[in-house]
Structures are given as structure tokens and as C-alpha cells.
Assembly symmetry: C2
């Protein structure tokens, strides 16, 4: 199940980027599971990585290689996360990189490895290395949708977002792909996401833009509060458009990031609802996020959302346990869509079950919580907790 | 569904305590839903209450009354939590207390109200007040099992634990009841639990013993990470045995607390497994608890436990996101029962899926996580996350 529609707009290639997705049989037959991305020399590359202490071998290799130099190739496999695999895992990731570097005649540090899938099993290096030559011959500028499919695991549909804007008479393309449906609560980092633009953005500035954009997109989503060992988000600027970065381009990049983040949640494991938790009037950003995540991660709130039950008591209880000091219950207002649920810490005089039910029956629901103690605002996106979430995670070794 | 067996030992009355449980039709017909506990004058009483900022009206009243004087009566209703009910909720709780005080001819402050059930609906005071006279005439020393049933909500079975120990030739009884199956992560407080002893314990010391005992029992359990608005735990010492408190009695009290806490988890909503998460070799208690709760509250770990899937990668990922600084993956050891799953941050050389499966198939599972960086130890108890948890919470307005 998934909420809403997939991206249906035009996909704009990004000059200087070619992609390929092939079947290498890593875990399943007849499944795209190996993606190669080629970036022309001269591009700048920035990345953010999982804060999980047990980050996977490819994350360590990618982080180090990116620190040393701008990247020319991304090699992404599904079916195996190469996590919890110790020293052998690092050697395996490096062998895959070496295979790409040999064919492309680049330095091994110019190749970044990414893996997603089962944790704790050895990476099937031979299958990957055997597939790399075909990946090279398949590279082209238009394989975005195929690449988006090639990085899917429990995702039920590809996540691909593309925009083109005109800047001073020149057009700039921003196109990105992402994957991830469970084990999602990025912590100062993100899921697997790759966004490319042909704008020209110096490396230092690219890193800053990536930090701001991921902070307001992938770092504001949660499915189950679990941070993966393999989260990565990469931003690449090829500079081929000869347009220098400006505020408008940064804003468009943020837009692509947010659309991809929302697409992840709409296809979250078992999701039947897409929930926006909007916290207003907080004393600071930190307490707004504490409240937003307490609500967005409450299994009781999430099952009530699954059941379309306007059980506002569970929302109130979640706000109350968020750990805010001196929270004045009488200042609290909670809205479900446009309907006021709670004011003054108790059920609103204008509220009726019928009004609440009408809002709850929608596929996309916004919960607004006003704290009445400041000007800070934060938004977090999440999904409901459904029977299918349990079925998927009880049945699938991911 | 529930794990293991209910308490089957002898139930020891506590001299100075009488109980009654009656049907007052608060939410359902033909259901025990109102419990009255009478404590003889001269007893000491201590209580700990929820830290949820939106604590319910009866919690506020009980906390204040207990501060003013030792209590003579507990009045406990199910079916309605009297939470999120504003000023009216406080008035309603006081009206119930006044009704008890009038019949018993005690000060209203000697009556403590407790409510559990649906949040945000007005307490049906008339039904409760109408039932109180029958509750008084039904009071007796042996109605423990009935009282344990009378405080149940989504619990599938009563929680009752009783012990008798001999101290210097005199016998001391400790008997307690508790309820709670969901919205369970007490935060420096507990669920509804009432423990009574006929030992003599001065008020100040009773409070300290309650703090230590609840900290190592009800404050070490989690079902879904949700802290209720109505959690309370009361400890009463009637002094009728003429035995003064000593270390042995405190240890027996802790034992009763822990047995009740374990009983809550074994009957947690949808529980098919009882899980003990044991963290060893931490630098301090705080980091042991951070790791224990990260594992015990991970939906992915909990669904793997439901599926009896020895998916150790999910456990490792949860440990890795617990937020410990400078965690050395190579020092980590994880055991499932007696089977070593992980050592040196990767799968143990001696581990086989068959060994893991054998441990996972059990109803009661102990996960041990050794951090290799100190001497601190903490234990947390939890349940799995099952299809029935979702069904119960999607179907039931609690």
C-alpha cells in the first residue's frame, strides 16, 4: 500500500550525469539491483551519512573517499547492506570500487560504494564485479526511472523528482532519486538519496546547501524511529549549465529534497496514511521537534491514525510526555486538519466526533499542535502504523 | 494473547486492609469497574505519579491529598481516565472523593481517586457515586483477586502478587495488584499499582523504599514507549504485624514490585513474547538504559521477535543509534539467550541460524548486550510488536 500518486512530471536529464541499472542477481533473480552513476570530471560532490555508530562498511569507505576527492562514480547495490561485516566488509566494498576504477581508469578514491538490504551477511562481491562491465556499457543520460527502480528494496514504487528552472535565460535541471520504506529516522543524515544539478556550485557551498536541504527534508521524516546503518544522501553539481548557484536554485534543490522525503513517507512500509505533524509557537526549534517526534513516533497515535479514529487523547498524552518543562496545558491547541480538537488542554467546545471523523477519513492528514510559548515552528512527516507494517517486517529479513 | 502463567500462589491478606470491587456500569455492563480500598488509621502511605505534563485530574487530586496527609481510602475506576477534562475533571474527582468521605466520616483529603480508561470524556460521576455504598458494604480482607480484576482495562488477566516472609519469628505479608497493557513506559512513575504490607514503615522511609522499588521494576518496562496520563503506584504499610522494616522486607517488597512489572509485560497488548533486555559493561547506568530502550522500543526488533526471526542486524542497528559517544563496535558482544550472536561488531564465528532460531522460538527471550566499557548493568523488560497489538489499538478507543 502507498499513499497518493507517484511523480508524473517530465524527467530532466542533468548534463554531465549518466546512469545505468542492471540485474546482477545479488539476492533475487530478474530484479534491477546494481546501479552505476557516472559524473563528468569537474563536478562538485557533497554527502551526508548515517550517525548510527554501527555504520556499514560502504559508508565508511564512501565517507573517506569523498573527503579525499570529488567523486566520479557511485556504485549502488541492493539486496545486501554490507553492514555488521567487519574488516571483510571494508575489503569487499573496496574490491567493488577497484573494479569500477579499473574499467574507468580513475583513482579508486573517485568511486563511492553504497549498499542497502540485509544486514550481517557478506556482500556477494563476485556477482557485483561480474555485473560492472554491463553497467558501464548501459550508461546513458536518460535512465533515471530505471535507476530509481534499481535502488528499491521494500519500496513499492520508485522515488524520482525532477525540476527545471530558468535562471537568467539559462535553464537549470535538478533531478533526484531516493529509496527507503522502513528503518527510517535519519539522524543528521538521510536514507539513500542522490540529487544532481547542472548548476555550478563550489564544493564548500554545496556542502552547506546539502546540510540545510537535508535538515529540512530527510531529517524531518520518521517511519519507525529506527536509524539505518546505511543512510546516505549525495548532492552533485556538474556545473554544465554554466549557471552559478543562487537563492532560487538553492530553493529548488530544497524543493526536490522535500518532495523525495515526502515520497519516502508516502510509500513507507504498510503506510495507508500520510501524516504531517506541524508544531507551532514553540520556544525553540528543539522543543518543537521533541513534541513533533513524540507524536509522530507514538505507536498509539499511529494505530489510531491507521484506524481513522480521531482519538485526540492519545495525541494529548504524546505531547505531554515529550519532556517539555513547565508546559502549560491551558495554552495548548491541537487541530486535525482545520478542525480544532483541543483548546485549553481539554476537548474544544466546537468539536464533534463527526467533524473529527471527516478529517480522519482522509489519506493525507495534518496535525497542528500550538504550544503557545514562542515563535518557533517545525514540521515532521510520518506514516500510520498498520497491520501491513507488522506483516512486512515480520515476514521480510531486511 | 499473553505469555507464561498467572500468579498461582497463596494470596496473603494484609492486616489493616479491606477491599471491594463492584459493577457500576461506567462503560460496560456486567464488568467490575469500581474498586474501593480501605486502610486502617495509623498506616503510612507513599505514592509516585506519572511525569506526563498532561496528568489526569485524579492524579493531581491524589498527589495533593497524599501530600497533606496519610490516606484512608483509594477509589479506583476503570472505563474512563478523567484525563484531558480540564477544571470539570478535578471537580468530578473531588465529588467522588467527597462521597467516600461522607460515608466513612473521614476528611476528603484522606481519600485518593484513581481513574483509568478512555481519555477526554467526562467522568460519569453519578454512576460512581451510586455505586459507592455497595462498595462499602462489600469491603472484606480477602477480595484481592476480585480487586485485581476490578482495575483491568485491556488487560486479559489480573495481576496479583503475594508474598509472606518470616522476620524474627513474626510473619510479614506483602500483597499487590496492578493493571496496564498498553501506553506503557512509566517515566519516573508507574502504571496503576497498589502494594500493601503489614510491616511498620515510617512515612519518609516508605517513600524512599517506593522510589527504589519502582525504579527497578515499573520504571524498567516498556510496551510502546507511551507514558500514560494516569500512571500511579502506591505503597502502603499498615504496621499491623508490629515488625519494623529491615533490608529483608525491602528486598521482598522489591520482589513483589518486579513480579507485578513482569506480569504487566507478559500481558502487554498483543504480546506473544516476553523479552528481557540486559545491558552489561556500560560506563554508567544512563548509557545502559539508553541502549536497552533503543533495543526494547525498536519496532523492527520487536517485529523480528514477533516473527521469531533471529535478525541480529536489527539489534545491532538499534544499539548503534542509541546515541552513545565513541562506541567501539569491536568491543560489542550480543547474546540471544546463551547463544553468542555478535562479537567484535560482526556475526560470531560460532553462530548458526539454527542456534539462533532455537532461542527465538521460545516464549521468553533474554537479549544480552555487552558494551565493553565499564561495570554498569541495567535490565529492561518488554514485549514483541504483533499484529494483535495493532488490532487492539486500532479497534479500541482507550
Amino acid at each position: 500500500m502507498a499513499v497518493g500518486e507517484v511523480f508524473k512530471g517530465e524527467v530532466h536529464p542533468v548534463a554531465g550525469v549518466r546512469l545505468a541499472a542492471i540485474e546482477s542477481g545479488i539476492r533475487y533473480k530478474n530484479r534491477l539491483d546494481l546501479v552505476l552513476v557516472e559524473i563528468e570530471a569537474g563536478a562538485t560532490v557533497a554527502g551526508v551519512f548515517t550517525q548510527n555508530a554501527f555504520c556499514a562498511a560502504p559508508v565508511k569507505v564512501a565517507r573517506k573517499n569523498l573527503h579525499d576527492t570529488d567523486s566520479r562514480y557511485f556504485l549502488i547495490n541492493t539486496g545486501n547492506a554490507n553492514a555488521g561485516t567487519g574488516e571483510q566488509g571494508a575489503l569487499d566494498a573496496l574490491r567493488c570500487c577497484q573494479s569500477v576504477a579499473d574499467i574507468a581508469r580513475v583513482d579508486i578514491r573517485e568511486v563511492l560504494p553504497f549498499s542497502t538490504g540485509v544486514i550481517g551477511e557478506r556482500l556477494p562481491v563476485e556477482k557485483i564485479v561480474a555485473g560492472i562491465p554491463l553497467a558501464f556499457t548501459s550508461l546513458d543520460e536518460s535512465s533515471w526511472e530505471k535507476a530509481a527502480r534499481g535502488i528499491m528494496t521494500t519500496d513499492t514504487r520508485p522515488k524520482l523528482v525532477s525540476r527545471r528552472i530558468d535562471v537568467e535565460g539559462e535553464s537549470v535541471s535538478i533531478t533526484g532519486i531516493a529509496k527507503g520504506a522502513g528503518m527510517i529516522k535519519p539522524n543528521m543524515a538521510t536514507m539513500l538519496a542522490y540529487v544532481f544539478t547542472d548548476a555550478a556550485i563550489p564544493r564548500k557551498q554545496l556542502k552547506e546547501i546539502l546540510g540545510r536541504a537535508s535538515d529540512k527534508s530527510f531529517n524531518r521524516i520518521t517511519v519507525d524511529g529506527d536509524t539505518s546503518t546505511n543512510d546516505c544522501c549525495m548532492l552533485v553539481a556538474t556545473g554544465k549549465s554554466s549557471v552559478a548557484v543562487n537563492a532560487e536554485i538553492e530553493s529548488a534543490i530544497l524543493g526536490v529534497f522535500q518532495e523525495l522525503a515526502v515520497a519516502l513517507i508516502k510509500d513507507a512500509e504498510g503506510a495507508s496514511k500520510f501524516i504531517t505533524v506541524h508544531v507551532e509557537q514553540g520556544a525553540n526549534s528543539k522543543e518543537c521537534l521533541a513534541v513533533a517526534y513524540a507524536v509522530a513516533e507514538s505507536p498509539l497515535v499511529k494505530t489510531a491514525l491507521f484506524a481513522s479514529d480521531p482519538n485526540w487523547g492519545r495525541i494529548l498524552a504524546a505531547v505531554g510526555r515529550a519532556g517539555l518543562e513547565d508546559l502549560d496545558i491551558k495554552a495548548i491547541e491541537i487541530r486535525l486538519g482545520e478542525v480544532q480538537l483541543v483548546s485549553g488542554g481539554e476537548v474544544s467546545a466546537s468539536y464533534t466526533e463527526a467533524l473529527g471523523q471527516r478529517e480522519m477519513d482522509r489519506d493525507e492528514i495534518t496535525l497542528t499542535i500550538c504550544l503557545g510559548r514562542g515563535d518557533s515552528v517545525e514540521t515532521v512527516w510520518t506514516s500510520d502504523l498498520s497491520l501491513d507494517y507488522i506483516r512486512i517486517n515480520a515476514d521480510y529479513r531486511s
